[in-house]
Assembly symmetry: C2
């Protein structure tokens, strides 16, 4: 497996290509920041290796083998992110690009030992689930803060957008995973929210609320 092949599989997985719904070459090209014609070439190669299903003009989806491989890369990526945050004091907005490199290190023992060192975490710093060695991962029933009803409470468990600017914004406003949030009021005009969190009240825009996941207190 080359680095490039691994990146393709990862992106196809993220675009949902294991659910039998084929992904278009255009969509893949956009994510890979490359051209559709390059994607076609790679689709053929991956199909050759039995990692994707590919029919001309019909798009691409992962085979079982391809899904397994994609999950193992995602597992590595997310474990490295946890490592960087927990052991090396990286902030959650700095880990992605380093993890993009570390995820390609080839050593099963290495990643298993990292997993052990971290005491087998189930979620990465952005709240995304970490697949186990056999490709299983927790699906948490979470919802976007923007869809929580007025008066309801929830624990912040993840972010939808994990770009550095958004994460830095959250840091600046002391919004972090694990905090309990109650929706006090929704503004009809611009859908901004008035929320209570950790003993203080604040207003956040719809754009922020629609990129924060919360888990309702059952």
């Amino acid at each position: 497996m080359t680095r490039s092949e691994e990146n393709y599989l990862k992106i196809i997985f993220h675009l949902g290509g294991s659910n039998s719904t084929p992904i278009t070459t255009n969509a893949i090209a956009e994510q890979m920041e490359t051209k559709p014609s390059s994607v076609t070439d790679m689709a053929k190669k991956l199909a050759e290796k039995g990692l994707v299903n590919y029919k001309k003009y019909q798009g691409v989806s992962l085979t079982d083998q391809g899904t397994k491989t994609a999950l193992s890369i995602i597992r590595k990526h997310r474990l490295w992110e946890v490592f960087l945050v927990k052991k090396l004091d990286f902030s959650w907005d700095e880990v992605h690009e380093v993890a993009e490199q570390l995820e390609h290190i080839k050593s099963e023992k290495l990643i298993d030992k990292i997993d052990e060192l971290l005491e087998f975490p189930k979620f990465d710093p952005h709240g995304d689930p970490i697949p186990s060695k056999d490709g299983k991962f927790m699906v948490r029933d979470k919802q976007l803060l923007s869809e929580v009803a007025i008066g309801d409470k929830g624990v912040c468990v993840g972010v939808k957008d994990s770009s550095a600017p958004f994460l830095k914004f959250l840091d600046k406003n002391k919004i972090a995973l694990g905090h309990t949030i109650q929706v006090l009021e929704k503004e009809d005009f611009d859908q901004s929210l008035h929320i209570a969190m950790e003993g203080r009240e604040l207003r956040i825009s719809h754009q922020i609320a629609s990129n924060l996941y919360v888990k309702k207190n059952e």
Copy 2:
């Protein structure tokens, strides 16, 4: 800097190419497990970038910039080796190939944090010195066990051959860095040694003795 360029610089450094003595393309090719013609191509490219001095048929040596770069890669390699042994319980015969991959990760913050986590080690698991950020490293005055006079004592501080088979042999015979060794007798016939170490006596071949470094107790 591509991975390949980094590997060339590292190998040129190890062959002694910063001491103005140029290294032949043949020697580099052998270490790189490639052909001399490929080395010529790379020599041109590295010379172009100001990392090596290269004159046709005269061999290659590192410039100051090239030496600096080589040292930073060696620093990363050795720090990762320490990390693997100290934090993830790898044995010293398993670390090399994983460190070969990890040394190419590009993040200054990452390696500085690893250095800090390890409390700024000065030597790697094989006793080789770890260059500091500014490229300085300790030169320990050590000598091969095979050259120690009869009756003299020394502390085992490093290995010359750090291949897995040799390291495994040392483990099996409970020979480890930090142990004090006294040479009791040298066999004229085959230059094998009779040594005392950690309260026991054993015989080792010349080949073993000439791959173990000791530091004489001053």
